[in-house]
């Protein structure tokens, strides 16, 4: 699904992966890096798109979807992973098959130092919480990694996370001098 020439190509393809895996509940706290994917899901009548007031609601929502026989993906920025830690005990204690897609801050080229404390520990936190975690730093590998994770979640029943790094999607620029070679069009 095309959302405009300026949007990253992977967004439409990741939406296609979620669609093929029959994901019907997609929840999110927005991140600029997820904007195009959120738009794709919003335009898809087969998906309920749930805007969350905090990321941990997405973990609980996915557990409810699992109980009711539907498939759910939760989209968030790395800062939101910290908000999910205790709620993820629900996935681990109950064997919930859930998929997290996390766009990273606080990494390569980050100009906001307040993003670093969470961004630097995000993959480790996800693993400590029991999620099989794939870190992607190459935009060309985003789609295949989400496909692999979705298969492990929805066919295999393993909770998984995919983190999409700032090398792949660029760092946020607050001022012209913040821009890096890796920076794309991330607002």
């Amino acid at each position: 699904m095309s959302v405009g020439a300026a949007e990253p190509a992977w967004a439409g393809e990741v939406h296609g992966v979620l669609r093929r895996h029959e994901v019907t509940q997609v929840s999110y706290v927005p991140d600029a890096g997820l904007s195009a994917l959120i738009t794709c899901c919003r335009m898809d009548p087969a998906m309920s798109l749930v805007s969350l007031s905090t990321e941990q609601e997405g973990i609980a929502l996915a557990a409810g979807a699992w109980l009711g026989g539907q498939r759910s993906a939760v989209l968030m920025q790395s800062s939101g992973v910290g908000n999910c830690v205790n709620m993820l005990s629900l996935w681990r204690s109950c064997g919930v098959a859930g998929l997290l897609i996390v766009t990273m801050r606080g990494q390569f080229g980050e100009a906001n130092p307040w993003q670093l404390p969470m961004g630097q520990i995000t993959p480790e936190v996800l693993r400590l919480c029991g999620l099989v975690t794939f870190e992607v730093d190459d935009a060309a590998r985003i789609v295949e990694t989400v496909e692999a994770a979705a298969t492990m979640v929805f066919r295999g029943g393993s909770a998984c996370a995919v983190t999409i790094g700032q090398r792949a999607i660029g760092a946020k620029a607050f001022a012209p001098a913040d821009r890096t070679a890796a920076d794309g069009d991330r607002p």
């Binding site: 969350l52 007031s53 609601e57 929502l61 009711g68 629900l90 919930v96």
Partner: protein, 199 residues
Amino acid sequence: MTGPGLDRRAVVARLLADRDDDLLVVTGLGSTAWDATAAGDHDATFPLWGAMGGAATIGLGLALAQPARRVLVITGDGEALMGLGSLSTIGRMQPDNLALVVIDNGHYGETGMQPTHTNRGDGGRTDLAAVATACGWLVAVTVTADPQLADAVDAARRQPGPVFVTVAVSADPVPLVLPPRDGHHLAARFRRHLGVAPL
């Protein structure tokens, strides 16, 4: 606090009276889980043993997944306060098959009866039904006396939602009645009840 308020066990028993297989129940952790179990453990009841603040949103995910069935979340004031933002999320989604009933004793009952923000006697000022109304819930009522309970139970069980009910109950202690605590078992029996095939 020993004082006015309805008997929580009687309230939850009335909420769950004559339940059929299409009523899906999620409870909070602690007292509301014990209340629901005292009313009769059921494959279609999912009691929390943790994940505080998540009951309402678990109910939302379930309500979206099972639009032809009624989803009833029964939780405590402390648990509801921890997930206050989810009232806003649910108000945005407007699930017509979801009801949330708060069994409000004004205290954190499992940790030594510390007062919550709904506890007027302690300076608490939060009116949960007013919050639900402000978040756009279709129905939001407060029950403080027995004559109001029948209409509130009917709303929670049958009226188009999202329906929010908060019931002021006594903080007197009641016996522990524990549901199974194995989350894999609780989830598997719930899914089996709905005919969801195992992976």
